[in-house]
Amino acid sequence: MDAESAAWLRDLNAGGATRDAAVARLHALLLRAARFEVGRRRPTLPHLRGDELADIATEAADDALMSVLRRLDDFRGASLFTTWAYKFALLEAAVKLRLRSWQGREVPLEPEAWAVLATATPGPPDDLEQSELLHAIETEVRDSLTAHQREVLVALALNGVPIDVLAGRLGTTRGALYKTLHDARRKLRARLGARDMLPDWLDAERRPT
């Protein structure tokens, strides 16, 4: 473990004034991270006032502080302590902002976007191929997936509902929903593969940005 991370752990596990000072430094660090996340997302949240965003950042830092202090024993020095701590504040802020931005909005669970996809104008031969692929996907989504898989796939992958928002509405977790999405995608891939309909370009474009 690097010296700076070890010092964080030592001070946070100490008692009295040393710990109090370390907790205050940690809270300042987490608040900076939460404000960073709010700042990154601010252009996409024009309906939220500045004081609302400031409150969200403060709440995120407070919640992240509790998470970090609860999990101190989990930190083994695989990264810098500050990197490890930052991720809790970024997650708290991101989740709160996603939930806030969808507050009061209906979560679309029906395949509204099929119409847009399906009417994409066929032109060159590969567009025609994609239209056939879309039709096959629509058929497999309808016939091969369970109702829950279909609902989750459509909301997350087609209608762009944030996974934390859907988890809140359905009373589940991000992890559980992603497992459902993953299983649905695997089933679709298997069905389309069996029909020799998976395009060559599909996996060549899969890079995180």
């Binding site: 991270a33 960073f36 996340e37 990154r40 695989a78 990264s79 810098l80 500050t82 990197t83 490890w84 930052y86 991720k87 970024l90 997650l91 991101a94 996603r98 976007a113 847009v116 996809l117 994409a120 590969d126 567009d127 994609q130 692929l133 879309l134 996907i137 796939l153 992958a157 087609l158 944030p162 996974i163 934390d164 991000r174 992890g175 992603y178 497992k179 999405l181 993953h182 995608r185 695997r186 679709l188 891939r189 389309l192 998976l198 395009p199 370009w201 599909l202 996996d203 474009e205 899969r206 890079r207 995180p208 940005t209």
Partner: protein, 77 residues
């Protein structure tokens, strides 16, 4: 809808091809992955399955982008 948009929609529907981490595993490894990335080392080899998950999960991808940007901003030029 343009062809690139259509392709992106298909990518979102069908997800990544290879093995991928779960969201919980992604969060557990995210700090190490970012520090390895920013050190210029092979993060994909250090955390197999992370890159595929970041393709398939928009929320974890956003979390990764934010952490990388924040830690990167801390580093000296």
């Amino acid at each position: 809808m343009s062809r690139p948009d259509l392709r992106q929609a298909l990518v979102r529907l069908l997800g990544p091809a290879g093995p991928e981490l779960t969201c919980e595993e992604c969060f557990a490894e995210l700090d190490r992955y970012v520090d390895v990335e920013l050190a210029g080392e092979d993060a994909g080899a250090a955390v197999p399955g992370m890159a595929a998950h970041l393709v398939g999960c928009p929320a974890c991808r956003e979390d990764h982008e934010s952490l990388r940007a924040l830690v990167g901003a801390d580093q000296p030029l």
